[in-house]
Subunit: 336 residues, 2 copies
Amino acid sequence: MSLPTQTREIVLASRPNGAPTPDNFRLVERDLPALQDGEILVRNTVMSVDPYMRGRMNDVKSYVPPFQIDQPLDGGAVGTVIASRAEGFAEGDSVLHGLGWRDVAVLPGARASKVDTADFSDSAYLGVLGMPGLTAYAGLMAAAEFKAGDAVFVSGAAGAVGSLVGQIARLSGASRVVGSAGSAEKVARLKDLGFDAAFNYRDGAVRDLLKQAAPEGIDVYFDNVGADHLEAAISSMKLDGRIAMCGAIAQYNATEPACAPRNLTLLIGKRITMRGFIVSKYNDLQQEFRQTVGPWLADGSITWDETVREGLDNAPQAFIDLLAGANTGKMIVRLD
Amino acid sequence: MSLPTQTREIVLASRPNGAPTPDNFRLVERDLPALQDGEILVRNTVMSVDPYMRGRMNDVKSYVPPFQIDQPLDGGAVGTVIASRAEGFAEGDSVLHGLGWRDVAVLPGARASKVDTADFSDSAYLGVLGMPGLTAYAGLMAAAEFKAGDAVFVSGAAGAVGSLVGQIARLSGASRVVGSAGSAEKVARLKDLGFDAAFNYRDGAVRDLLKQAAPEGIDVYFDNVGADHLEAAISSMKLDGRIAMCGAIAQYNATEPACAPRNLTLLIGKRITMRGFIVSKYNDLQQEFRQTVGPWLADGSITWDETVREGLDNAPQAFIDLLAGANTGKMIVRLD
């Protein structure tokens, strides 16, 4: 079978103003460069859409450089090596790499890592075994300094990161695990996953819903949402509580800067530590993460959900829907 | 000379709504109880007015219980023992204790600590050697995790705590020390104290003023002010920066909850840790504080200022003026 000489890829057609729309994206075909020494040619089987990508669509300085207009988007993907001029990679290998949003990618072998798809699906490496998994583990353990006995609240709890935070906390000795999500179905799913309490944030004021779900207060808040969720968590927080700021999906599509929690000065009297983080800060916890969480995955103690869309041309809509909360668990786009 | 049987004291006449006014306070005379075993009778020579007292005038649950209507206020004071039925205390001893806002106090000896007024004035124990001193030291070292080479910004820098934070940072190897204050005179004083840069926050947008004063950004922010100061500090903060939240004097007199910094989500990408604290959390650092800072006081490396008002009847106005920023250094009311 002859090797592909072209790829289809999604480029950023224009920067979103507020929530992204389909016309911010464009599917193009592009010639692939000839394979150089040290490079591999990969046919992607799955790609990731993640909330953090929304920030990269704005033209602002941040911890990762912004996407450029008319240039392809990128992000996590798993694929099969179809040609290799890189040592250590052979045709048929499954690899995790950073050139998603396209069918076929050419990249240095040094920027790919081989993954074993015998025990876990390719998509697991974009979720529970990948960046979202480490984000959940390191955010809870390092950023929020979790300890056994803590009462934990996580927002966006039905998402890829949040659902793991809750389960890791439960398995690590949390006294209570509370999650919030955006639908009755998601709330039901959280209870299946072993959350002690869960609520639909659309059912009322988050502050009240959280007080009902955690009447004795919380020690740890893992924030994926920001805004009124953060304010509610500060209100319910006990002395010496800790907040890991992981994301602020409520604000990603905002066109005006949000008025942040109005009760922020409570951090003083309650002696609260609030720590923002991005997962790359905790790459040194990768091994500990796999050693701790791996067995829980293998024996079924941890369950993970995926919401799967099919085809590269549906990737923009998958991303748009992710930001609107359409996913339960990891949102994946399958390309094979 | 016969012992006093009465004291004059300031009671809370009514709760302030916004900025306190003189009619929120009332000077009363009250009979003193007979001295019991274990107690001492103290004639106060100096008393403290501190920003945190404003919070205690509201009827809300906080880390210290609220003051009660028609009951005396309290707070730090130094006085002379004029009668003692407590072991270890003799007539003429100088003691630090918590029953300020009155001329004469009766209290258990266990609630007083003897101080040496040979080397330092009585009022030093209410400031540089007392609660504000430990607040500055522990807030900088423990809450903000200061390390040599950090660029440090402190707001309320001409105040009792802020002026010490800046000087301790400079003496501990800060790469740059920046302070903000509310008048040109205070700014000039900060430069005398060795601040590398200082600005009057009334001269423009704090965000712009801070960027001029610290063009390469800051690693540590010691917050005494809150509001736009906190937003500016987040904006100027470098990767892995740390914020110690000590006070929020800009908001103490607010009748509406403030809209907190609109850029709070920057904590994520900048991996910022923000830690609220009250000094009692760090009582275990008392000895380290005295060992570190004591020599700097003795050899003149650290300078401290006082703003002194005379007489118990002027204490309410001293407190009102403190909240309006009338003090340079520690605001003291002298009672002798």
